[in-house]
Symmetry: none
Subunit: 409 residues, 2 copies
Amino acid sequence: MIAEIITIGSEITTGSILNTHSKYISSKLLELGIETYYHTSVDDNKKRVSDIINIALQRADIIITTGGLGPTDDDLTKEVISETLGLELISDKDIEDNIRNIFSKLDKTMPTNNLKQAFKPEGSQFLKNSIGTAPGIFLSKDNKKIIMLPGPSKEMELMFNNEVIPLIHEDYNIIIKSVNIIGIGESQLEMKIKDLINKDSDIIIATFAKEGEVEVKIIGKGKNKDIIENKINNVIKILKQRFHEYIYGFDNIPIEIIVFNLLKEINYKIGFCESCTGGLISSRFSRIPGVSQVFDRSIVTYSNNAKMEELGVNSNTLEKYGAVSEETAIEMANGLLNRDNLDLSLSVTGIAGPDGGTEEKPIGLVYLCISTKDKSIPIKCNFNGNRESIQNKTATRAFFELRKFLLNK
Amino acid sequence: MIAEIITIGSEITTGSILNTHSKYISSKLLELGIETYYHTSVDDNKKRVSDIINIALQRADIIITTGGLGPTDDDLTKEVISETLGLELISDKDIEDNIRNIFSKLDKTMPTNNLKQAFKPEGSQFLKNSIGTAPGIFLSKDNKKIIMLPGPSKEMELMFNNEVIPLIHEDYNIIIKSVNIIGIGESQLEMKIKDLINKDSDIIIATFAKEGEVEVKIIGKGKNKDIIENKINNVIKILKQRFHEYIYGFDNIPIEIIVFNLLKEINYKIGFCESCTGGLISSRFSRIPGVSQVFDRSIVTYSNNAKMEELGVNSNTLEKYGAVSEETAIEMANGLLNRDNLDLSLSVTGIAGPDGGTEEKPIGLVYLCISTKDKSIPIKCNFNGNRESIQNKTATRAFFELRKFLLNK
């Protein structure tokens, strides 16, 4: 089955935003055993969108569009596709009510053009949008599958995974497992698994570098599920032997969620004190639903003054060793731990740049400290990259060290 | 003049790399007054590349390809294009020598397939590649301009700027301005500017929704720079009249940077206290280099206990009005303001979900409060979306309200 991905929107063809949808969808399709031969982007123009659809119908079996499902006039995807295929647009009562509800909940008056979103081509089915107003559409006609997804990435990705995959999955087994690694670079890692890659034609092993971590994706394909699973598990066994201390998890469960679950198990409350990350560790942790079970508070002490006032860091320590030092990191973590009902604290102090680096304290130097009532463990790190990248890598490493600490308890 | 950008390579269509070339080239073309209507990506397949070229020749005046110019067998761009246009491939002596030189300089023996790069279609001209071995190609035939650029981004971008721009630049101007808006939805906004859209064929007005904000892009085209600028400024003037209280800036300067600059001007130090955003406001602010000039500290009080201990929120207030209430927001902001050297504080407390929503306090209900020594201004908001989206919208709105406050001081 051949796929074409069509992204619709002048914001793409004028180059004002990057087309990340085509990459996302084609890599997902590949995992399902569906090959993508074409990516097409076109501006918000009725005639040109229609031409694009006609071309795609001639060369692809499955056509996935993103964008142009919203309420505004330049949202014309389903209108054009219906017209191109000679189908009527029919309004769906449930969706109509749903849209009205969303607005009444927000006690806002609904602009009438929002009702546009309740229309779908005859014979098609809506795809649920659990976080936005624009539903997707699935249409099957003359052995062609046409899938229309909304433009916002979060809505598109959620809909693809929850609604689209079950509709297009085929009787062919593709099993994917991911091994998640922190603390070793992608190129170094790749060299150490060269012997595994291309060893077995049914098994694809690929590495993907993310900020501060690497994902090793193992894709197995074949008719027999058990055989594939065995092969994959063998690869994972070898990876565990080679990279044991670097592997933090599997199948892309975020490191902060792993830490969250470990804390829940032992019923520990944690607090963070951050300097150079400015609240990033805390905000990443707070993305987790129900985090309040283990997360009590965090303090961002950006100035030295704040470090002293909020965490009781000693002025002599700051003078003698500097704000970016092991000693300061330890005093920060211990200072926070003095608060009530905290079992564990993590502190971060470092130089994110672009300024503030020196010969012996370069940009990217970061000290972490993990403290409990009975011990403090300082950790020194050096990261490269720009300010944002150093902050991201610091946060990721902080969670990685917390996981290690909690497992060794 | 209409452009189509064609990126060739299976690494793109399989989703293993992101297609950044099309964005780069189309935004550059726009600055030159050339509109891109189509982006096409295709895998390394002779037949399909040929089909793609034929389609492009029918609908675009200028075709820019990237990739497939290298020495290996799956580099087939110029071979296919020559064949499609019925042109011979001829070897160029100078380039041939140049390639030999590069290898002798590296004193490496040259793989013979490198000489492939010395061939070009008859009647075409080479484009100099100052940092790689694969030259680009410029071909003009039947009023169509065809430009072939190498795949590596650095080579492609350098070649585009140094070699391509002089060849395609036209006596034609494009000016783009953006108006950035917070607090009014895209659909509502568009209904209120319907009369401006399509009013003047030289002016394109498009709205782009981002999380919690909307960008209105105004693109002017024409021979006379002053006339375009006047037309754009007139549109902006009207937008200012209609949406004055919602416009926070122009040309996509992030709202937090606008707040940062306003604080610098009056030499104010700010602190944040966050509950439902869990440090997001603080971490977004801390992305800004040099933020320490205006940012002192921030406190994430996730538990009620922390709200009382860190910010001195009254237990009666929490009991009587709840943690998510105007009263608590005010006490949080004032509590933080008691710290030394803070001129301004912003507090956030709300329900980000997925749990914790009730009839009269639904998910998405958020209270902000901005406090200075002499006054406290609470603000009530309702946001929709999932947990992450509510947190993002809250942070964006917080900066928006800070800007408003600082301007009205």
